[in-house]
């Protein structure tokens, strides 16, 4: 019953008017920056950081955390409406979310994204309160060999991402792996394909690529079809998810939450990978996998729940060990440290007000976001009624501003435009962007883990199978790859043709 004491204590902290206001301000600011493509929580949080020096640490943390999960809510909006992922974790949402919008179902897509995020957020908070210490121990058992195996397992997701030709998906993935090698090599410090430009030395950012390949290329494709000015003149079918939608999404939301939460704990890219992984899982368990990518609601519900749950999972290593698993966590860590609070093993016992106050504030914040976001849906949907010739210059403008603010670098604008044109060309030839982006995410992590593992083992490859956890992950990966072959043999032709016939 200790848990209820803690939680009620936490609510006592967060329901103080001051803290409630901070949670609300954070949630609103987060939603706003999340909606603008490219402008992520990092920019808003770093600008507000000096302001929080003068606040109470609990209030500061509650507000900054509010910006973070608020942005997770907002990020899906542009993915669904205009096919522009506001941040890397919303890339997958584009796949089915945008297709739903084109079929006049933007409302239900936005609705399920909001509800899914809320449900995932709620479970995430529960997970955070109950499981934080044991989970962080579990996460520590992942060393470089386990990460490498996990990334290989991640690459099997490719087979679920492609809904056209598998060959073309593989070509895109290989190109993505190549782009992932650009930059200073993480082990030897060698520059690769950088042309000695500092802009390229840390590699090409995921958001720049995603905004180009999804957003800019979409605009280019739409300009081309000049006769059909309004792509979205299909009648709007309902503003909120109906009973059927709920039935289809519930499982996806729960599975997405689980996947997101656990992957979120692992350092590096948890939210992005979990959104891809949950999408792949849904396609695997679905009775109609061929409809994925053409606007199924599970394809929105799963990644949106996953990225939100991952956002919460990321708090675990930060709060219990003081290890930030992403930039946002690093900012929160900095904010705490400046106040003289060192997150880590002692946080829970030394600053219970802060620990439990933050956790319960996330619950309250998620509720606020749901209340805030649901009435906004009809407004967002109305955006689609704006004639495209007026809408697209504005989208383009926001993309340009957003992508610049990531690093305050004009070069990023060129990169986005380059990947926009690249995305446009490959889409003309029926190649897909998603396998490319998955490979850009996984490639560098895979390479780094492979090389670290081989340094550790002095070049002996058996390290990947002799370590138990790594061995198990390999077994799962091989099983997943072989499984379709077996089902193909036992059920001849049926699946294969529906996949190949486009």
């Amino acid at each position: 019953m200790e848990f209820f004491q803690h939680i009620s204590y936490g609510f006592g902290v967060v329901l103080q008017p001051g803290n409630l206001v901070f949670a609300f301000l954070g949630a609103i600011a987060g939603t706003l920056v999340g909606v603008v493509p490219g402008l992520g929580p990092t920019a808003a949080m770093s600008m507000l950081l000096p302001v929080t020096f003068g606040m109470s640490p609990t209030g500061a943390l509650i507000m900054l955390a509010g910006i973070y999960y608020g942005a997770q809510y907002g990020g899906s909006t542009t993915s669904i409406l205009v096919n522009i992922p506001g941040e890397a974790a919303s890339v997958v949402t584009c796949l089915d979310g945008y297709q739903m919008a084109r079929q006049g179902r933007a409302g239900p897509a936005l609705g399920i994204a909001a509800f899914g995020s809320f449900i995932a957020g709620t479970f995430g908070v529960l997970g955070l309160s109950f499981l934080a210490p044991p989970l962080v121990e579990a996460a520590l058992t992942f060393g470089p060999p386990e990460y490498f195996s996990l990334m290989c397992l991640g690459l099997t997701i490719l087979t679920f991402l492609a809904h056209g030709s598998m060959l073309k998906a593989l070509i895109m993935a290989v190109l993505g792996l190549f782009v992932g090698t650009i930059g200073i090599d993480p082990v030897g410090g060698e520059q690769r394909f950088t042309f000695q430009r500092p802009d390229l030395m840390e590699g090409i950012g995921l958001v720049q690529i995603a905004m180009g390949m999804f957003g800019i290329s979409e605009i280019l494709l739409n300009i081309e079809k000049k006769i059909k000015i309004s792509v979205f003149e299909t009648k709007l079918k309902g503003l909120f998810p109906n009973l059927q939608d709920w039935k289809m999404s519930m499982g996806a939301i729960l599975r997405g939450t689980g996947i997101g939460f656990f992957l979120g704990i692992l350092p590096g890219g948890g939210a992005v990978i979990s959104s891809f992984a949950s999408y792949a899982v849904e396609k695997r368990v679905s009775k109609h996998p061929e409809r994925f990518g053409r606007g199924v609601i599970e394809g929105v519900a799963a990644p949106e729940s996953a990225n939100n749950a991952a956002a919460q999972g990321a708090f675990i290593p930060m709060m219990t060990l003081g290890i930030p698993s992403n930039v946002v966590m690093a900012l929160l860590l900095g904010a705490l440290m400046i106040h003289g609070i060192t997150p880590g093993p002692l946080l829970m016992s030394k600053h219970p007000d802060l620990f439990w106050g933050l956790i319960t504030s996330m619950y309250i914040g998620n509720l606020m976001l749901l209340i805030l976001n649901l009435p906004l849906i009809p407004m967002w949907v109305k955006f689609l009624k704006i004639p495209y010739p007026i809408l697209f210059p504005f989208i383009l403008l926001f993309c340009l501003i957003g992508v610049y603010t990531i690093n305050n670098n004009v070069f990023d604008i060129y990169l986005m435009v380059f990947f926009g044109i690249f995305g446009y060309l490959v889409r003309k030839f029926d190649f897909e962007a998603a396998p490319f982006i998955l490979a850009v995410v996984l490639g560098p992590m895979m390479e780094k883990a492979l090389r670290q593992s081989l340094i550790m083992s002095k070049g002996d490859f058996s390290i990947f199978v002799t370590r138990p956890l790594s061995g198990v992950i390999w077994a799962v990966a091989i099983f997943l790859l072989v499984l379709p072959l077996i089902t193909k043999v036992s059920k001849p032709a049926k699946i294969a043709t529906s996949e190949e016939r486009k």
């Binding site: 770093s46 350092p267 290890i323 930030p324 002692l346 670098n409």
Partner: protein, 324 residues
């Protein structure tokens, strides 16, 4: 642009005292200053850039706006600062990496002596050798060196960044102690520290800002630190020198302006930062971030940079490192 505007509005709200230009006839500053941080928001360097800006602007009399220019392990931000107009309106934070980059990376256009004018030293953070508490390497320094000598290249050392300050500290330590570890590089502390706590690497080098909280929380033991004297915050941790190894190398942050910035402006800024960094709150905040506030004059800062270059050159020559 909009960010700068927003930040200016914020600083208006949150009480920046507007001191008029002094009577020396220097018509500076008449507008806000841009402060370039060469690393991403939330990084240790960024935290110190924001801290320096906040305490400096009180005495500069105009807002100091931090602009992050991350990329290239800091080299992009350093290059932007070096190329900025030397009118005193663009200054920034430089660190150990700035000294090292011309020797390690191809295409680097700046050099600490030719491209920058030092204004002040901000802080330093000791590089420590730490291990997992209660783990198989939670042993004395003597024992560690003994084991490393008995079986060379068996102990795995985690490094949060190839040829960053901590890697240089490792190299100097290996040379001084006559040992050789297996170096496992990670992109940063966020990945290197879990690897240590999970037992995937045996020992690790890193600045106090990365291990101080884990040390206080009983998760790691620190076998030695690279400062000249013991850190008053951690009186139980011996320095490498006390162990008999001459490893003195810290992660340092400096404020610098582009070369060519006029003397009166440099003196004005140096004086402003001296006052700011002497404030009790600044010293406390630096301490909270795991570092030690350590103001130095422009001349003192230049000396510190020269000393650092000499130290780095020793390693660079020994390993025959070439820009790549």
């Amino acid at each position: 642009m909009s960010m700068r505007f927003f930040a200016a509005i914020l600083s208006l709200f949150f009480g920046v005292s507007m001191i008029p230009a002094d009577a020396t006839g220097l018509d500076y500053p008449t507008r806000e200053l841009e402060f370039i941080a060469a690393f991403a928001p939330g990084s240790n360097t960024d935290n110190f850039a924001r801290l320096a800006a906040k305490f400096g602007e009180k005495y500069v009399g105009k807002p100091i706006v931090v602009v992050n220019k991350p990329g290239g392990g800091g080299s992009r931000g350093f290059a932007v600062l070096a190329a900025a107009k030397p009118d005193g309106y663009t200054i920034g934070l430089v660190s150990n990496s700035m000294i090292a980059h011309p020797y390690l990376l191809k295409g680097i256009t700046f050099h600490y002596k030719k491209s920058f004018r030092p204004i002040a030293q901000i802080d330093y953070s000791a590089e420590g050798l730490f291990v997992k508490k209660g783990g198989p390497y939670d042993i004395s320094m003597k024992e560690l060196v003994k084991r490393a000598k008995e079986k060379p290249e068996t102990i795995k050392v985690g490094i949060g960044g190839t040829w960053t300050a901590q890697d240089f500290a490792r190299a100097i330590f290996e040379e001084e102690a006559g040992v050789k570890f297996i170096k496992v590089p990670f992109p940063g502390a966020a990945e290197a520290i879990p690897a240590l706590l999970g037992g995937h690497v045996d020992i690790e080098f890193g600045p106090a800002s990365e291990w101080a909280h884990l040390y206080k929380g009983g998760k790691v033991s620190v076998l030695g630190v690279s400062t000249e004297q013991r850190d008053p915050r951690f009186p139980d941790i011996l320095t490498f020198r006390e162990h008999g190894y001459d490893v003195v190398l810290s992660a340092v942050h400096w404020v610098a302006a582009p070369a060519g910035t006029p003397d009166p402006i440099v003196s004005f800024l140096a004086e402003a930062f001296r006052k700011g960094f002497a404030e009790k709150e600044f010293i406390e905040a630096a301490d909270h971030l795991g570092a030690t506030a350590a103001w130095e004059s422009p001349e003192g800062t230049m000396k510190a940079m020269e000393k650092m270059e000499q130290l780095y050159l020793r390693v660079i020559r020994k390993y025959d490192l070439k820009p790549k």
